[in-house]
Amino acid sequence: MADSEGSAAARVRDREILDGTRVLGGGRKRSWWWLLSIAIVFAIWQFAAYSYDSVLLMPPPLDALAALWRAVRDPEILLNMGITIKRVLIGFSIAMLIGVPLGYLMGYSQRASAVIDPLINTLRQIPIMAWVPLSIVWFGLGDGPTIFIIAFVGVFAVILSTIAGVRSIPKDYYDAARSMGAGRLQILTNVILPATVPDIITGARLALGAGWGSVICAEFIATSAGFGYVMVRAQTQLETGTLMALMLMAALVGFTIDRGLIKLNHSLAKWRFAE
């Protein structure tokens, strides 16, 4: 705690998270090694396509890239992508609206934490996909079950990160604020909120990642629209190249969402990144 105001450890942690993506992000240390790793992946892929010699099982990378180029201009695919993104954003917002206040409550009050913690830990043990059948019973087919799954899988990450953020605030900050004349409400808005922004954004990144990861799977089963649905259709029509193109698209969207949140972290918690 000797360097509590530096939050040095937290800053290092942020940097490390960042380092995973810095290669494409154009940070200070721009590196081109990622090109090599992509080249290796494509080489193996090309070799596998050559050995299988079957467009159905393993289309060559160039075919998949051509399919990707078609897919990103196909209005129907884009429309379904839009449907999925909308579901993710709604589910994610619900996760934040429930998770952040609950995280504050549990981080701040030992008693609330003692009451809610066992409940959360029990629910968390149920694999998220095991909720799909019940959520269809509750919400029918379509938006309902997918949004439920996204909100549900995300809310735990948000709660846990928020709790960690609140609990890592040094007691000296509270005392300092009080001795400078801050009341309860001002301690919340002037100390707790700004101090927890980076942890909440970490939680948001995890929630969005988990939401994006499970929504497509939920859409295989529970809907007749959305990106997952388009993928199942490509599969049944034996368009393996398109299927792979869609997988690449999903990766690109997930990556873009994550970059967006890192940017948001930089602008909301710019004090951490000032050089």
């Binding site: 705690m1 509590s4 300092a176 400078m180 004349g181 002037n190 700004p194």
Partner: protein, 254 residues
């Protein structure tokens, strides 16, 4: 303003075996005096200072600032933490503005005071920096002027020079003396360093190692700004080292 501590008792209920940290501690810091609390580790200095600040409650006793009884933390008592506790999400200038904002100091007045304080602490032009961009000495000076910005009647400090190396420590003490000579705020500071106590204080209050009592109250009669040499300085040093040894032995006896 005058700070009066009267009959403070504090006990911790350490797992069935109650531990008396402070028993009937009384002391007065006169207006504009610089007083240090000296004592062996664990004797209750931080506990006493936190009670004066209102961060923890005493079992018995009263604290008066300028004849007014206080029990909660408030801007009448500025506090300088050993960790400095600067808010890392605020720039240096915003940290110093914070107590003034909380007290509703009008904007013009606030900015004027900020400029005065920053130049007093030789921090002009550094206001835009965040705490993690400051050196240890700059952080310490920021913590001092932040505490002064709210115009407290009493300044409380818990080992504000504790976390740095020897050279830095001497520099910070000199800096603190210089700042204090310009303000002459009433100060109660905790330390366990004899030289620091002599260099900084008008009076040194020595606490016993056990039972939380005051053992001695020694006025330091040296001209300011001070020097760390001379016959009288060394006499004080010998005297306080003896007292501390006694305080320590006192702590050995249950």
């Amino acid at each position: 303003m005058k700070l009066e501590v009267r009959g403070i008792h504090k006990q911790y209920a350490n797992a069935g075996a109650p531990h008396t940290v402070l028993s009937d501690v009384s002391l007065t810091v006169g207006e504009g005096q610089y007083v240090t609390l000296l004592g062996p580790s664990g004797c209750g200095k931080t506990t006493l200072l936190n009670i004066v600040a209102g961060f923890i409650a005493a079992d018995r006793g009263t604290i008066r600032v300028a004849e007014r009884e206080v029990s909660k933390p408030g801007p009448d008592r500025g506090f300088i933490f050993q960790s400095y506790a600067l808010f890392p999400w605020m720039s240096l200038a915003d940290n110093v503005r914070y107590p003034m904002k909380r007290q509703g100091v009008p904007k013009d007045e606030r900015e004027k005071r900020l400029d005065d304080l920053l130049s007093m602490a030789r921090l002009d032009g550094k206001g835009h920096l965040y705490p993690h961009q400051l050196s240890g000495g700059m952080k310490q000076r920021t913590a001092v002027v932040r505490a002064l910005a709210g115009r407290p009647q009493v300044l409380l400090m818990d080992e504000p020079f504790g976390a740095v190396d020897f050279q830095m420590r001497l520099m910070m003490q000199e800096e603190m003396e210089r700042l204090w000579l310009k303000n002459r705020t009433t100060v109660l500071m905790v330390t366990h360093d004899v030289q620091e106590a002599i260099y900084m204080s008008d009076r040194v209050i020595v606490m016993s190692g056990h039972g939380g009592r005051i053992m001695a109250d020694l006025p330091i009669d040296l001209p300011r700004p001070r020097e760390r040499r001379g016959e009288i300085y060394h006499q004080y040093e010998d005297q306080l080292i003896d007292l501390l040894q006694q305080a320590f032995v006192d702590g050995e006896r249950p």
